[in-house]
């Protein structure tokens, strides 16, 4: 299996570079820039906007911007004598005096993502990784709570629906699954906020911690109420998905010979259903985990934005709107790696759950 995992990782490398190139190209092709977003006002002159664009490097051609982001620019133009002024450059790629004003361009200071430098946010002027890491805990809290809730509810509901096939519980479960799958989660979240937050005042309306002057955020267990509404809403769709998958696979398993054998041997239906059938019915669920991690990542964009949770999904949204490309690309990288690893995890789980399967 280790050989298989290594092979998959090696196969992922060109996919990863393909994703970065395509994503960067798409962002570059998008009309306008962060400069128009931030400085579109009659009292800001064209020269000022051009200068700000040059400072961010977004007036460079695509290949230079991509190279700088990928591999840095300290090797494109550098300061060899340590006087703070660039004196050497790969002239054919990045001339020392690119604008022809007789003054050398500043030396490159970026190392590129291949050397762990994700650059600085155009807007926050902070390292991208710092921004992402600061927001990661909120996304992890929401993601893990959502995954656990949806598994804890979706799997038993799916199994019970299968064993009560055609009866009230099954019919109700299937109807509810369709409803929760179809309802836009932002709408459901608004309703929860309105009913339980505004009207009944049972839960706080958005946010992650109680506002306070010194920016103190208590531990998760002291502020679970903030996670309640977004988790319920986010999990609703996944509960529907899991229950339908588990129901289908349980029905298939319940028709297998070994289940009939187990029942014929006198095992109780509960033991058969939950001990023998359920484990085998879990195999399709395992294959779902990879895509679901990706779904949670992307779904968090809406949930975090509406519920004012300071997560990675929310900065993905705001950065995309503001055309803060370094942050968007940082999140794309994390999502890409997460997706690749998520699918790999699915395959590994597949083997662990079903001993008949061997990865080659």
């Amino acid at each position: 299996m280790i050989k298989y995992i290594l092979r998959r990782i090696i196969q992922s490398i060109p996919i990863f570079f393909g994703i970065t190139l395509l994503s960067y190209l798409l962002l570059w092709l998008a009309p306008g820039s962060v400069i128009e977003r931030l400085y579109f006002a009659p009292n800001i002159k064209a020269e000022t906007r051009a200068k700000l664009a040059a400072q961010l490097g977004i007036d460079d051609p695509f290949h230079i911007q991509y190279l700088r982001w990928l591999a840095g620019d300290d090797w494109l133009r550098w300061d060899s004598d340590g006087d703070g002024v660039a004196d050497r450059a790969l002239e054919w790629l990045a001339p020392l005096d690119e604008d022809g004003d007789g003054i050398p361009e500043p030396p490159g200071k970026n190392y590129g993502i291949l050397r762990g430098d994700f650059g600085n946010s155009f807007i926050k002027k902070q390292p991208v990784m710092d921004i992402i890491l600061a927001n990661l805990p909120a996304t992890l809290e929401l993601g893990i709570a959502t995954l656990l809730t949806s598994l804890a509810i979706g799997i038993p509901v799916g199994v019970l629906s299968a064993v009560t096939r055609g009866r009230l519980f099954d019919n109700l479960g299937r109807v509810m699954a369709v409803i929760f799958d179809a309802i836009p989660n932002f709408w459901l979240l608004y309703i929860l906020i309105w009913v339980f937050g505004s009207e009944l005042k049972l839960i706080p309306i958005g946010g992650r911690c109680t506002p306070n002057l010194y920016g103190v955020c208590p531990s998760l267990f002291q502020r679970l109420e903030y996670l309640l509404a977004p988790t319920i809403v986010f999990a609703a769709g996944f509960v529907a998905l899991f229950s339908r998958y588990v129901r289908t696979s349980t029905l298939e398993v319940l028709g297998e010979d070994y289940i009939r054998t187990a029942l014929a041997k006198g095992l109780s239906p509960r033991a058969v259903n939950f001990r023998h059938a359920m484990r085998n019915a879990m195999i399709p669920v395992a294959t779902l985990l990879g895509p679901i991690i990706t779904n949670i990542w992307s779904g968090a964009i809406i949930i975090e934005t509406v519920s004012a949770l300071p997560g990675v999904g929310r900065i993905a949204y705001t950065s995309a709107i503001q055309q803060d490309h370094p942050v968007v690309m940082g999140i794309v990288i994390m999502a890409s790696v997460g997706t690749i690893l998520g699918f790999l995890l699915s395959d590994i789980l597949y083997v662990l759950i079903d001993p008949r399967i061997r990865l080659e």
């Binding site: 998008a30 009309p31 009292n43 064209a46 051009a50 700000l52 807007i123 309105w194 506002p211 934005t305």
Partner: protein, 576 residues
């Protein structure tokens, strides 16, 4: 009443007084911010509304702004406007300004705020090494010199009546704290940790903490000479406006918006009015300092060129086949019912404007009658301009005749109207315009574009007509960048409609360099410009929206102005 009873009564009264007084002290003001975090609180490079709003509580500025007249004000309070200038003089030739500063303001580390701090901040801006967008002032200022701790002398290279406002366009940095961190290079200002954590400030609040994408807090500066009552001010970062408003209605926040923004959305204003009338909270309404308009491209869009060359000579830009003729623009301005636009698109929460600016700006001439809705007059003007209904079918577009000045004879009267997608007010207004112009035979291809794409069309001067809006217009309605050839630069200038009128250019120059800069005299010049712009319609003036502050009843003694939400922070008390 015996002695014991009297003592008991006095004690009770004393308790009540003390209790009442303590209810007036402390409390935290909580606002909601629908924009991004204030991550650059350095007043030189701050740019978004929330940052600028916070700056006013943290940093000193050169002078105060009168909240009523919105004019620079000598002396006065040192509240949200942390003005330093007690007074100033202008030399006879208008080229030298001398500011006399107060000497009783200190940074929160005890160091005095001096003229040297102002000069240091200006020098940083003038270095051109920072990402500050406030470079307008550099066009007119030759030098800024701190003669002593209390005197700043500003020398101009050109006479500019706007310079007084431009000199106050940024807060003042603590030189003694910032300079040692720069290693002699102003470039380092952009990346100072201070920008995210301004520890040395001089306002009524100190900076508290910033939790990314959650909240920013300010804490009362007890050492300020005019200590305020609220213990602090928290701004919650809530990206979704609906959620932010629910937080306010549920009592989780004291205000909708922040110090720098109003933020009650147009569709909910009437609901807020009703609730305020019921006494549930307080509101304050005003006409916004921004307007929505349609810009007509007056030049040939197929070959966009600058309005003038480097020597200032005019360049032939061609004429737009339709909008090159002022009669066409005037006809369009009379062919649409503004009441329908304001009621249907702006929820009735706007006022029709007649020229550049809004009633909130002192240069605006409210006496000019806006264009009326008169489709018959519009058709007559179009006929005069050579566009006729050739088939007596109003559902088909008008057609140009030989009399049309710039359109090909036989060509249909059709144009493309663009606006930015996601702006529901403009999308609705565009649909109404499309429908009503269609009724008199003008075919409008109304399209929405993503904002970045729209800006590219706009600055590239590659459009027929664009509906857009500007907010936070400067109080001084000087718009040389917008309506003179100086700003007619393809790719970056704001005279994207290529408008040129020698008289307008002359009037702007006069208003800018008027000896003595008397506001009344300048206002008269701006009014003349407004009249010309009203008639010539390089922009089709639509409306200025209303704005509304909403504040919880717990915020006592609240006295807002359009200019500033908390003009009297010193008097505000937060009740439990």
């Amino acid at each position: 009443m015996n002695k014991f009873s009297r003592v008991l009564l006095l004690a009770l009264v004393a308790l009540l007084v003390i209790g009442g007084a303590s209810a007036q002290e402390g409390g935290i003001l909580i606002g909601t911010n629908f924009g991004g975090d204030p991550t650059n609180m350095n007043p030189l490079i701050s740019n978004n509304t929330v940052e600028l709003g916070l700056n006013e509580f943290l940093f000193p500025s050169l002078f105060n702004i009168d909240p009523v007249t919105r004019a620079p004000m000598m002396g006065g309070r040192n509240d949200q406007d942390n003005g330093l200038a007690l007074d100033w003089t202008i030399s006879d030739d208008g080229f030298t300004y001398t500011f006399n500063l107060r000497d009783d303001i200190t940074w929160n580390d005890g160091a005095p705020v001096t003229a040297h701090d102002y000069q240091f901040t200006f020098d940083a801006l003038a270095s051109g090494k920072t990402s500050s967008p406030r470079t307008d002032v550099l066009q007119s200022v030759e030098s800024v010199e701190a003669v002593d701790n209390r005197t700043v002398v500003v020398k101009l290279k050109v006479n500019s009546c706007r310079v007084i406002e431009e000199l106050d366009d940024f807060g003042i940095l603590p030189k003694h704290h910032i300079e040692p961190m720069l290693d002699g290079d102003f470039t380092n200002i952009d990346t100072l940790e201070y920008n995210k954590n301004p520890d040395i400030t001089a306002g009524v609040f100190n900076f508290g903490a910033l939790i990314a994408d959650q909240q920013t807090s300010l804490v009362r500066n007890s050492n300020h000479w005019m200590s305020v009552s609220p213990e602090g001010y928290i701004i919650r970062n809530v990206p979704d406006q609906i959620v932010g408003i629910e937080q306010f209605l549920a009592g989780e926040a004291n205000s909708v918006g922040t110090a720098g923004s109003a933020s009650v959305p147009l569709p909910r204003m009437q609901e807020f009015r009703d609730l305020a009338e019921d006494g549930q909270f307080q509101i304050y309404e005003y006409v916004d300092d921004g307007l929505t308009f349609v810009g007509f491209n007056l030049a040939d869009r197929s070959n966009p060129v600058n309005g003038q060359d480097e020597d200032g000579n005019s360049i032939d830009q061609g004429k737009h086949p339709l909008f090159g003729d002022v009669r066409v623009r005037q006809a369009i301005a009379q062919a649409v019912n503004y009441d329908d636009i304001i009621a249907g698109a702006a929820e009735g929460e706007a006022v029709q404007v007649n020229s550049f600016g809004t009633p909130a700006l002192w240069g605006y001439d409210a006496s000019i009658e806006p264009w009326p809705y008169d489709p018959d007059a519009a058709l007559a003007l179009l006929a005069e301009a050579g566009f006729v209904d050739h088939d007596d079918d109003p559902s088909t577009p008008l057609v140009a005749t030989e009399d049309a000045l710039y359109a090909e004879p036989g060509s249909e009267f059709a144009f493309e109207l663009l606006t930015n997608s996601g702006n529901v007010v403009r999308e609705a207004a565009g649909t109404i315009i499309q429908d009503q112009l269609g009724q008199i035979g003008i075919a409008v291809d109304f399209q929405t574009q993503e904002f970045g794409a729209l800006v590219q069309f706009l600055l590239g001067q590659d459009f027929d007509a664009i509906m857009i809006g500007f907010t936070n217009l400067d109080q001084d309605t000087d718009a040389r960048n917008v309506f003179t050839p100086v700003g007619d630069l393809v790719g970056g200038g704001f005279n994207f409609v290529s408008y040129s009128n020698d008289r307008v250019t002359e009037l702007y120059d006069q208003a800018l360099s008027l000896p003595g800069c008397d506001r009344t005299e300048r206002q008269a010049l701006y009014h003349e410009i407004s009249n010309i712009l009203h008639q010539e319609l390089p922009w089709w003036w639509l409306f200025a929206p209303f704005s509304m502050y909403a504040e919880a009843n717990s915020v006592q003694n609240w006295m807002p102005y359009a200019e500033t939400r908390y003009a009297n922070m010193a008097d505000i008390a937060i009740s439990p």
